[in-house]
Subunit: 342 residues, 2 copies
Amino acid sequence: MTHYNLALLGFGNVGQSLAQLLLDKRDELRDKYQLTYSITAIGTRSHGMVINTDGLDIEAAIRLAVNGSDLSTLSTKCRPKNVFDLIRQCKADVLFENTPVNYQSGEPAISHLTFALEQDMHIITANKGPVVHAYSFLAKMAETKGRKFYFESTVMDGAPIFSLFREALPAAQLFAFHGILNSTTNMILTRMENGESFDQAVTYCQKIGIAETDPSGDIDGWDAAVKVAALVTVLMGIHLNPADIQRKGIREITIDQIQNARLEGKRWKLICSAEKKNGRVMAKVWPKLIGPESPMYAAAGTTSMVVFETDILAGLSIVEQDPGPQTTAYGLLADFLNAVKP
Amino acid sequence: MTHYNLALLGFGNVGQSLAQLLLDKRDELRDKYQLTYSITAIGTRSHGMVINTDGLDIEAAIRLAVNGSDLSTLSTKCRPKNVFDLIRQCKADVLFENTPVNYQSGEPAISHLTFALEQDMHIITANKGPVVHAYSFLAKMAETKGRKFYFESTVMDGAPIFSLFREALPAAQLFAFHGILNSTTNMILTRMENGESFDQAVTYCQKIGIAETDPSGDIDGWDAAVKVAALVTVLMGIHLNPADIQRKGIREITIDQIQNARLEGKRWKLICSAEKKNGRVMAKVWPKLIGPESPMYAAAGTTSMVVFETDILAGLSIVEQDPGPQTTAYGLLADFLNAVKP
C-alpha cells in the first residue's frame, strides 16, 4: 500500500469534481491499485489557501467551495504566504493544476508547475496554457527529475488522447487529424439547427456553464486552435503556436445558412484539422458543411471527436459524448494513476 | 539495447504482415525503444516449420510464403518434430499465435500458448479462440509466470481496445457497450445499399479476402458474438459463452428492406450490444435500423466501431476505418512493445 499526498491549485468545478472523485473512488483504488491518498493543500485565487500535511477534510473543502466560503478556515496549522510557499510546504507527491487558462503566456501556471517539479512532484494539469507554451520545457524537466508531466484533460476532457498514443499506440506515427474539439460551438450550432438564434444558443451555453461571460474564446475558434496546437506539439513533435493556425469561428454563420444546410440533410460544424508534411504542419480551424456520410455529422451538442491518421491505422476516431466536469476530473485521476503506476 | 527472439505460429496474411512490419519498423524501434529482434521460428500447418536460433531471413520467409513454398528450406539447422517441439527449441522470448480460430474449443491454440508460457515466453495472439475459451486460465498463468498474455488484434484489428482499458482508462468500470464489430457483414450491407444482391456482395467480400469460402461465421453473427464474448469476458470480468448471446445474422435482410430503409434515410446494421446489471450480462447480436443521428450510421464498408459506457465517461467511442492485415499486424506489434516495456 502506497500513500500519496496531493495538492490542488484551482478549486472550481474541475477541482471540486476531482476531490469528489477521489472520495468516490477511495475504496476501489485502495483495493485494486493498493494506493491511498490525502489532499494536503488547496490553493485558490479568490477563496483562500490551506495546507494540512496530515490531510484536509475533503468533504468539508467541497462544502466550503460550493458555498463560496474561504477555504483557509479548514486548517490553521500553516498559513502559506503565496502559491510558491504553498507548494514548498504542502509535502505533496503530486500537484494538480486546474486554474483558468491564460492563452497568451500560460502563466502563472507554468511557473507553478516548474516549481512543483523542482520539489520532485508529478505535475498534472487540465490547463492548456502550459502545454501550448511550455510542453517541451516541462516534459524535459520532468524526465530529468524522474517525474511525470501529464495533461490528459486539456483536450476532449477525460477521453484518452495523449495516453492513447503514449500507452496504447506505441510506434504509431501521427501524420494528420481532424475533428470537432470545441464543445461550446458545437452546442451552439446544434441549438441553432433546432431553431434558436445565435444569442439564445450562447445564453443557453452560459446557463449550463460551458460558455464564459465573454464567449469569444470559444466562438472565434481560439479554444479549438489552442487544442489543435496542443495535439500537434505533443503528438506530432512540432511546436505550433495557436496564432499560426488558420482560424475562423462560427460568428458569421447565419440561421439561414444553418436551415438551408438542414434542408440538404447537412450540418455546419467547426472543424479542426492538421496535417504534417515534410516536417511542417498545416493546421486550420474553420466552419465546414458536413453530410451524414461523415462520422462528424452525428456529433451533436457537447460531443467532441477526433479522427487520427497514422502510418499504421488509416483512420482511428475517438468520440466523447456528453462530457462534464466529472469527465475532466477523471482525466486528472487517470493521469495520477498512470504517473504513479509501478 | 535489448534483443528479443520472436516465434510465429501461423504465417498467413496476418503473420506475413507482422513480419513485414517488423522489417519496416526495425530502425524506428531500435532508435526509439532501444530494442532489436530476430524471428527464430515460424510454424505453419501446411507450409512447414523452421527454426534458426540465430535469426531467420525475414524477407526470404515472406517471399517463400507469398509463393506458397515450404518454409523449412530456410534453415536446416534444426528440424522440429511438431509445434510443441518448435516452441521448446526456438529460444523465443515472445510467441505470436496467429492460426485460424477454432470457435468451438479454441484448440490447439490454447495448448500451444500454455506450453509457450511454460517456457517463460510472453504470449500474443490475434486468435479469438483462446480469449473466449481460456482467458482466465491464460491470464492467471501469465501473471504467475511474470509474463504477458495480450490479444489486442482479436477485436477491431489493431485499434486499441483492450490496451485502452488496461493502459489509458485506469479505474473505469465498463457497464455497457454497443457497436459494429463484424466488418464483413457491414461491407455486405453497404454493397447491398449500393444495389448489389446478397450473393454478389458476399462474392465481393470473398474476392477482397474478408469473407471465408463458407461465409456463415460472419453472416450468421457468430464472429460478432465471439467478439462480444471476448469484450465481456476481459473488460467486464464475467465469463460469457458466445452460445449464450442472443444472436441473429443478416441472412434474412432483403434488398427491399435495405432499399426501404434507404428511402427513409436509414441503414440496416448488425449491432452488437452488452449490458452488465447486478453482476449479470445481457448480450445480443442483432440487425437494427440505424438513422443518421447515430454515430453508427456513418460506419460504412469495413469500418467497425464500439461505444463504451463507463461509470466515468458516459460515452466513449472508438472507430476504426479501413482496416487490413497491416492493421492487425500493428495490434500484435503494439502488444509486443507493451509486453516488454520496462
